[in-house]
Amino acid sequence: MIRSITALFGFSVRQTVFSLRIWVTLLLLAVPGGLALLIRYFDAARLQDMWERYHGCMQYLMFMLVIPLVCMLHGTALIGAEAEGGTLVYLLTRRLRRAVVLLVRFAATALVLVLLLEGATCVHHLCAVGGVDIESLGGGSWRPAGELAAYLCVVPIGVVSYLAVFTLIGLATKSPIKVSILYLAVIDLAVGSLPVGARMYTISDQLRRTMLHAMPKLARLYNLPGELHALLYPPGSTGTGALVFVTLVALLLSCVLITVRALAAAEPTRE
């Protein structure tokens, strides 16, 4: 079984790296770094602006758009692309349980995406603050390197959570891309940004909670009234547990779905 798992893992990694989707992924990954370079080139910012732009780009662009979109692209195709192309039959008629096939492909895709997104985070960091002498600008306590480390810890959690949810959507629905876009727009972005308690049921808010836990100064960026902020993000609370829970539930449901559902293309030709 280990041999089969190793073979499938390697194959899935190669498939993710060499698929056509990777070009769209690379394009999306280049956006934060590219934008940071452009801003830096055209606008010699003050330190305060630089701080806001650095974190704004990570919070609103990387975590709310780039990570979800990249995960949507790959998560919905994790099993769906093979089922659509008919090649899933080769994976499901071998010596691996269906749930194992799903989990191995998930792990392989997650690994590639985490590495790519960590890379994009580092590139953004270099483009935004690389070579800038923060001290000479009166940076005080701002330590961009430390904050980069915090982001690098949160990125994998975000990738795995979003990927699990989009994998589930890919298995459970007939139009996964449409449903995923709807999920992102209505639930994750809209509800996740509302100044109400319901936002805590979204991945984006739990990621924000996790980042606030690591970097309390980010509260300045969210610009919420003090009381509301304290209500929505009680001191010391982190979203890590909730994100792990979401990931496990989504993966469990995906395993159940792939185990009970026939995914072979059935082509009845007569009544």
Binding site: R3, T87, V89, L92, T93, R95, A262, A266
Partner: protein
């Protein structure tokens, strides 16, 4: 011992019937599953390889349930009907990867893949991407991936479709050798004569029901005297027509296109034998041989009515 056992097996796709209350046992050796397009052959094979759930009844393969059961699936080699591949892969990588997925270690997978590729006559083309393969080559490489893990049971869905007469002959011989080595084979086709070259043991399926099973002799009695049309695509259909016109069982010959000859006959098996001789000994270049009319369909309908009546 029965290799595949179906007990009251039904499969519906919404209101469409794929299989209708089928109870049958498939024994060892080679068994032909014959029926017209849409009869339920692929549905039966998908059920036997755990790709579909039965709507009712049970199916056991090698004595055990097959759905999500790796211990059974690892003993089955399956060649799907569809033209499905990772087209950017070379033939060698494709067979090797699937052999490794079946549990063979690196070196063992490489040698098993190589052997299977050689058996199917694809050694010369194995390092080319599959996207550049002809239909016949794709069929062969699909068969190779089914053979590579050295399964106990081969389930082959229309494996001869798209192959040329020489390829068909080679593959038929290969299946015979595998069966002689103890591999059980269930092979489907919509052309009775294709399967006849392999085995006398038949399951005939029509409208989701098994309409005849057992020795081909039994089935053949129903076919005697029925008119059949055979379509042959050849370089020189006129020469072919001249050769065939001397046969008493040929009731009509028509050249419908510059390279296409339609042969009407009451004894199709005689024509298939004769075509084989012409190809092998007279160097006649033939690209395709196929049943051209609903002759077989008519037999299936006849058998279906027969089974319904009694």
């Amino acid at each position: 011992m029965a290799v595949i056992e179906l007990d009251g097996l039904s499969k519906w796709y919404g209101e469409v019937i794929g299989l209708n209350n089928v109870t049958v046992s498939v024994g060892g050796g080679i068994t032909g599953l014959v029926g017209p397009n849409g009869a339920g052959k692929s549905t039966l094979m998908k059920l036997a390889t755990g790709q579909l759930h039965p709507s009712a009844g049970t199916i056991r393969v090698l004595g055990r349930r097959v759905w999500d059961n790796p211990s059974v699936l690892s003993q089955i080699g399956y060649c799907p009907e569809g033209d499905v591949f990772w087209p950017e892969m070379t033939g060698r990588r494709f067979v090797q990867f699937l052999a490794r997925l079946s549990g063979l270690a690196g070196a063992a997978a490489r040698s098993a893949a190589r052997e299977a590729i050689e058996q199917t006559g694809m050694a010369e083309h194995m390092d080319r991407p599959i996207r550049g393969y002809s239909k016949g080559m794709r069929q062969r490489i699909k068969i190779a991936q089914a053979l590579a893990p050295r399964p106990k049971l081969l389930i082959l869905d229309e494996p001869l479709a798209g192959t040329d007469p020489v390829g068909r002959h080679e593959l038929t011989e290969l299946f015979g050798r595998l069966a002689a080595d103890g591999v059980d084979i269930l092979i489907s086709s919509h052309i009775l004569h294709e399967v006849e070259a392999l085995t006398q043991q038949m399951l005939m399926i029509a409208h989701g029901r098994i309409v005849a099973e057992g020795e081909l002799r039994t089935v053949r009695r129903h076919m005697q005297g029925r008119p059949h049309a055979i379509r042959v695509v050849a370089d020189d259909p006129r020469r072919l027509a001249a050769e065939l016109s001397q046969m008493a069982s040929v009731t009509g010959l028509r050249i419908t296109e510059p390279d296409t000859l339609i042969i009407e006959t009451t004894l199709p098996e005689q024509i298939y034998d004769c075509l084989g001789e012409l190809i092998l000994h007279d160097q006649m270049k033939v690209q395709e041989i196929a049943a051209a009319d609903a002759g077989l369909e008519a037999v299936y309908d006849y058998l279906t009515r027969g089974s319904a009546l009694g």
